[in-house]
Symmetry: C2
Subunit: 347 residues, 2 copies
């Protein structure tokens, strides 16, 4: 890394979304008198009778959860997208445009254990989550009215998660949402120009530079992207170009579970707290096209900046002008790289 960028305010380009991030390396030492987050207690029971995600409990709509043993999936009782939405589109002129959006929402309990989170689960158990995602991607994506399947997890109260039971969500929609669409456009442009995958070229170069790579295994690389916005933002990228998670071999599925666990353990170890984030998969739409340009990847957007209780606020300037960060991607990578892969609670 050029020392100029290590020290001075600069902008970096994100070639995946065609956008910029403002980096202010000198600003990390600013004093903080603002909001301090509550830390969720670490004393959750393995089973909580008031939790609507625990096995055998009754949900708000009267349904009873089975006594599930690993992963459990059901339709979101309060889904933002619904299957029985009538088709309708409206375009008064170029200023007033709307269209109904058909889709559905699913909830995936990662484990029957109320007290666990991904970094505390066994790799074999995480692998079952991966299998469930692939299953859902294929089943939902196979429906004629579904063209995109967004798999994600909100972890921690600070990320708007309303239940600490380990779970993720899937929102599947007829339209391709804005963010994956940006990535598709950028990847397609690169593919057409170079006949190569943007992300394959990118990780090849990152593996040589070794400035932002956290670790790799046989099939995946975990790194802080050059254009990271969130203080400890990371990506897990498959070494082989694959458009979708369902393209993984068995060995790759295991390797992903391995990378997912190792990365989230490092996260928990960073501030010795259950590390909050929103995370999920970006992959090819399920619109029936081949999408040779797509190289799927998994992103983590964690808000914490200085400690377990002080987060980065993406507010005024970030909302109105441009995302901004206070430490460089290289600094964050160095911090995450130095951490142990043994969970602090088990030490």
């Amino acid at each position: 890394m050029n020392p100029i960028f290590e020290e001075h305010p600069h902008r970096r380009y994100n070639p995946l979304t065609d956008s910029w991030v403002l980096v202010s390396p000198h600003r990390a030492k600013r004093p903080w008198q603002g909001q301090v987050e509550k830390v969720a207690g670490d004393d959750r029971p393995a089973y909580d009778e008031t939790c609507y995600l625990c096995p055998t409990n009754t949900r708000m709509n009267g349904e009873v959860n089975p006594d599930y043993q690993d992963v459990y999936i059901f339709n979101n009782d309060f889904a933002a997208l619904l299957e029985d939405t009538p088709a309708h589109s409206f375009e008064e002129d170029e200023l007033f445009k709307a269209e109904t959006e058909r889709g559905l929402g699913r909830v995936i309990c990662f484990s029957p254990r109320h007290d666990l989170t991904v970094p505390e689960m066994e790799e074999v158990a995480i692998r079952k989550v991966v299998d469930a995602w692939i299953d859902e991607y294929l089943t939902l994506g196979g429906k004629d009215f579904i063209n995109y399947v967004q798999i994600f997890e909100n972890k921690g109260f600070v990320m708007g998660c309303s239940n600490p039971h380990p779970h993720g969500q899937i929102w599947a929609s007829s339209s391709v949402p804005d963010e994956p669409m940006k990535k598709q456009i950028a990847q397609l442009k690169y593919w057409q120009k170079n006949q190569r995958s943007l992300l394959a070229d990118y990780i090849e170069k990152e593996l040589i530079k070794q400035e932002r790579v956290l670790f790799e295994n046989e099939h995946f690389v975990a790194l802080v992207p050059y254009w990271a916005v969130w203080p400890f933002e990371t990506m897990i990228v498959p070494k082989r170009k694959m458009a979708r998670i369902s393209d993984m071999t068995d060995a790759e599925k295991d390797a992903f579970a391995n990378a997912y666990k190792r990365l989230t353990v490092r996260y928990d170890n960073l501030f010795e707290t259950s590390f909050p984030y929103s995370a999920g998969v970006h992959q090819a739409p399920t619109d029936g096209e081949a999408h040779d340009e797509w190289h799927w990847h998994f992103v983590f957007y964690p808000p914490l900046l200085r400690s377990a209780t002080v987060k980065k606020f993406m507010v005024g300037y970030e909302m109105l002008a441009n995302p901004q960060r206070d430490i460089t991607a290289e600094k964050s990578a160095a911090v995450l790289r130095a951490l142990s892969e043994i969970h602090y609670k088990t030490k």
Copy 2:
């Protein structure tokens, strides 16, 4: 509003930024067991000796604030952008691109009174803030290395504000940031096609529809935009096309202060709390061009959704896929329209 869109999930188009928002009208009644925000106490003294923005106090860098009587402006002691940044740009290939960013940061105290906020200030005092903004826009924008001047305010701890003393910020930069750049591109396209201002056409139609307009005065319209993302997002738009705030006549400056106060009073009355938001101006860059396409406007992005303590989280789906809201813009407008313009504290 077509009843289909009142009831069913749909997407709306934002012609100013060329993006979409997912609207889920049926979802407003979802139960909430998640994070509850702290409400800042309303018992602040008029002067706080520990506040580094109050008159006569000493700031962290040893400087002493004057005994100012209305507005006070100084260079941000921890600015994200700095004047003495060396010029440097780097482009290894299309994947690794960065450039240093020269700029500066300013802090504007809106009032010497520690216990006030905009909705509690007199219109004549707010007018002085507007004058200060115009002054700063012209002075900073006049520097050869400044091409964009972002004026904004983070209000409330939930918006990352670290000091309740009424104040805003200005970040001025050599580059035009992403968000105003999107609006510039859209407005230019519309201008070239129609020889008219996108926003002038838009508010003309909104004034006929009267579904999202909150109020107007002689020179400004306050409304919830058709494409609002935040639950109670609003805009104040000048009726006359002006590229920049410095184009305002005296009467327009007064009228803006009037609209700014009336809107923020309604906000405070909504949950009878000091209503948090990020807000600011979008206007023409200071790059020496005429920018006939630009129609400046003031936006408010407030996070609260259900009460003084439950906000909308823009997390997993919103970060990875698409902004999403649970109530329609029309519902929010109806709620805000029904509120009094007399501040609840003075009733």
